[in-house]
């Protein structure tokens, strides 16, 4: 499933990235395969979202976040 399919407060583990040209940016910001990610905030109108990744809050637009594939354990 995609990161954008998660509900507010839900956690999951990152599996992979679909979009090659954003992969490096995601990696640099700490979004790596195997990392635990939690949906912390969702902006009014549903976009963007803020995730808790390795201990900090990162805001992502849905159009970017949908390329992150995750697994709920």
């Amino acid at each position: 499933m995609r990161l954008t399919d998660l509900k507010k407060g839900q956690s999951a583990e990152i599996i992979s990235f679909e979009k090659d040209d954003l992969k490096l940016r995601f990696y640099e910001m700490g979004c790596l395969p195997g990392e635990k990610v939690t949906i912390e905030l969702i902006a009014p109108f549903g976009d963007p979202i803020a995730i808790n990744i390795s201990g900090y809050l990162l805001s992502l637009r849905k159009q970017d976040a949908r390329h992150i594939k995750v697994r709920i354990d």
């Binding site: 090659d20 490096l24 790596l32 912390e40 009014p44 963007p48 803020a50 900090y56 809050l57 805001s59």
Partner: protein, 689 residues
């Protein structure tokens, strides 16, 4: 480092939001210079500091970066001093500043910097926040693992700030920590196009990346991108192992931050809070700035009177009073508003709130071709477009930043207010609009709304025409909330004001001098003739001195270059209901729009900026052709719309040039805004005439 021998270049490097700039402020106070990196709007701050033993250090505050892999062209240039060993300000030492509460992501940059071969020291800043979050770091162990000096600081609690300076004067160590082995480069450079032997492996790799197009075109760019992603992954794996040895953490975001976030991003309260903050900022910018602005204006008029009395009448006196002093006051009167505005913006930024405001407004702003970070410049535009355009630097995406710069001047700035007030007061309407509203308040509000709507519509239209820049995603860190630090805010405000005065001020000042020349001199000898005529009239007692001065001022304006331009543009502005005299005002308004009031005063022979008298004269003016009042409803409305939408501000043009590094954008902005203003005024004029 050997004392006094060579000035060392020391760079403060770190992620955004790690408190690096605050530490730079603490180290240097107001002894800092801000300059742009060549060809970009990226600001780099420098300062020269000396300790007691005569060691001098050139300290640089590099913009915050997450890694040395550039995400945009601008960021590439920001990394240039680190990546190019031939750079004339190549670092001798790097002091890495890290957010101690977020070591993992911050260490990525460290591992890259140390692979580049720099001596490095580590500052774990914001340690108070880290402690509160249950992060505890074994500093000694970290020093041993990395083989470099590590200190823990907190700008807020003042922890270890005294150890910061010694760290900068002492040369750092090269770390023995290695976690990444670059791939062999032999396959890329067969010929000796670039001599890689003098660089270390990682430096060489960066040079190959940078010259990807020489090395092998598109195919290689893809491979390189993949390789870089792999590199980051390898580094993070190693960092995890390192952290396991030195850090224990319970890894919890502070509950209070969570609670504030729940309200600040709430669908109802979030926007309510944002609007409330806006209201406070507006009130302060207009109300609080009024007093110092009046003081400055009075000061300049006193100074002007003094010079008028003191200097002999003539060109020199006019140059000093109407050129130099007018130019200086044009720069200095803006300062109170700018300082107050930046004061609030610094608080919003420092506390972490600004990122939340951008977060809740991003989706709405996207509809208008901008992003969440465009909100701040648009708000600032209501005070003055100059600081507003300067504040677009926080917008990473080039296209969205350009659109924000292009549409900001549509927002009615405070210089338009006197123009609106004068024109609204002479409009011959009485009674209420829709039966309830006082027409004056209604019109004023309508003018502001016109500006806001036009800017949003312009955003939509521009987003179709401006070339899409490489999309690098919209990644924004939401930093933890913290109480802003008074000293840091103060230094930020003052250094911004200083950079406004030096950078924008120079241009405003020069433009004022040019306009002074254009309105004081004319192409023919008419001026001399008029002066002689007036002189004879005074001798013959046909005029007293006061009448003569007014008459002379009016004639001068008519026969000046500005007057000629006014007549030249008359055919263009006639369809809007303006004559050449309004044309002169449109041109002289280029110094600052509020000059309109003064220029009306001269044209209608009032002699001073006295609202009541100008109003009476303007209302009494009869159009010689139609025998109707010259300032009819149609003309007044058309003129107001023109002032609302036209790009009549030389300073804004100059700032847009400075921020976009090209004449293309200010020129396009000028043309597009003028066309928009012309069409809108024409429509309004023809609706009401």
């Amino acid at each position: 480092m050997k004392a006094g021998k060579k000035i060392q270049n020391v760079y403060l490097v770190g992620n955004p939001n790690c408190g690096k700039s605050t530490l730079f402020n603490i180290l240097t106070g107001l002894q800092q210079k801000t300059s742009n990196l060549p060809g970009t709007t990226i600001e780099i701050r420098k300062s020269k500091i000396t300790n007691n033993e005569d060691i001098t250090v050139r300290l640089f505050d590099l913009p915050g970066i997450y890694s040395i892999n550039p995400a945009s062209k601008d960021e590439q240039i920001a990394c240039e001093p680190l990546l190019n060993p031939e750079h004339k300000e190549y670092p001798d030492q790097i002091v890495l500043i890290m957010d101690a509460s977020n070591l993992k992501r911050n260490l990525l940059l460290f591992t890259q910097i140390t692979d580049l071969g720099f001596p490095v020291s580590l500052v774990l800043n914001m340690s108070d926040i880290a402690h509160k979050r249950g992060v505890s770091i074994d500093i000694e162990r970290l020093e041993r693992e990395l083989g470099i000096r590590v200190i823990e600081t907190s700008a807020r609690s003042g922890l270890n700030l005294d150890k910061l300076k010694p760290l900068i004067y002492e040369s750092g160590f090269k770390s023995h920590y290695k976690c990444y082995t670059p791939p062999s480069l032999k396959s890329f450079f067969t010929a000796s196009e670039i001599d890689l032997d003098k660089y270390n492996d990682y430096q060489a790799l960066q040079i190959v990346y940078k010259n990807a197009d020489i090395v092998g075109g598109k195919a290689h760019i893809k491979i390189f991108e993949e390789q870089r992603a792999m590199e980051v992954m390898v580094r993070y794996k190693a960092i995890d192992i390192l952290l396991a040895k030195c850090v224990t953490q319970s890894d919890n975001r502070k509950q209070i931050s969570k609670k504030i976030d729940r309200i600040a991003t709430h669908p109802v309260f979030g926007y309510a809070i944002f609007l409330f903050i806006l209201f406070i900022i507006f009130q302060s910018v207009f109300r609080l700035a009024e007093y110092p602005m009046n003081l400055i204006e009075n000061g300049f008029s006193l100074l002007g009177n003094y010079f008028s009395d003191f200097l002999p009448q003539g060109v020199f006196q006019s140059l000093i009073v109407n050129g130099v002093l007018a130019g200086l006051s044009g720069v200095i009167t803006f300062i109170p508003q700018i300082v107050i505005l930046f004061f609030f913006l610094a608080i919003l930024e420092d506390s972490g709130y600004m990122a939340r405001a951008s977060f809740i407004l991003d989706k709405i702003m996207r509809k208008f071709g901008m992003n969440g970070r465009s909100v701040l410049p648009l708000i600032s535009g209501a005070a003055c477009a100059i600081p507003a355009i300067m504040s677009t630097r926080t917008i990473e995406n080039r296209k969205e930043r350009l659109i924000t710069i292009m549409v900001t001047p549509f927002i009615s700035c405070s210089a338009r207010l006197p123009v609106y007030i004068l024109l609204i007061s002479i409009i011959p309407i009485h009674g209420k609009v829709f039966g309830i509203f006082n027409h004056q308040g209604f019109l004023l509000m309508a003018m502001y709304l016109l500006g806001v709507f036009t800017s949003l519509i312009a955003g939509v239209i521009l987003s179709r025409f401006i070339k899409k820049s490489e999309y690098t995603g919209f990644f924004m860190e939401l930093p933890s909330y913290q109480l802003p630090r008074a000293k840091n805010i103060g230094i930020t405000c003052l250094s911004k004001a200083k950079s406004f005065v030096w950078q924008a001020g120079k241009i405003i000042f020069m433009v004022s001098l040019v306009l002074w020349f254009l309105s004081s001199f004319g192409p023919t000898h008419k001026m001399d003739a008029v002066e002689k005529e007036v002189a004879t009239k005074i001798i013959n007692k046909e005029m007293n001195q006061q009448e003569a001065d007014l008459y002379l001022a009016l004639e001068r304006q008519q026969y000046s270059y500005a007057g000629y331009f006014g007549k030249m543009i008359e055919p263009v502005i006639k369809p809007l209901g303006f004559d050449w005299r309004i044309g002169i005002s449109l041109i002289t308004s280029f110094i600052a729009r509020e000059v309109f009031v003064g220029s009306m005063a001269t044209i209608y022979g009032v002699g001073q900026t006295d609202y009541v008298n100008i109003r009476k004269k303007m209302q009494a003016e009869i159009n010689p052709k139609t025998h109707q009042p010259q300032f009819s409803i149609a003309v007044c409305l058309s003129l107001m719309v023109f002032y609302a939408l036209a790009m009549q501000c030389a300073s804004t043009v100059a700032v847009v040039y400075k921020e976009t590094k090209s004449w293309k954008w200010p020129a396009m902005q000028f043309v597009l805004m003028s066309i928009t203003a012309w069409i809108a005024s024409w429509v309004v004029y023809n609706l009401f005439v």
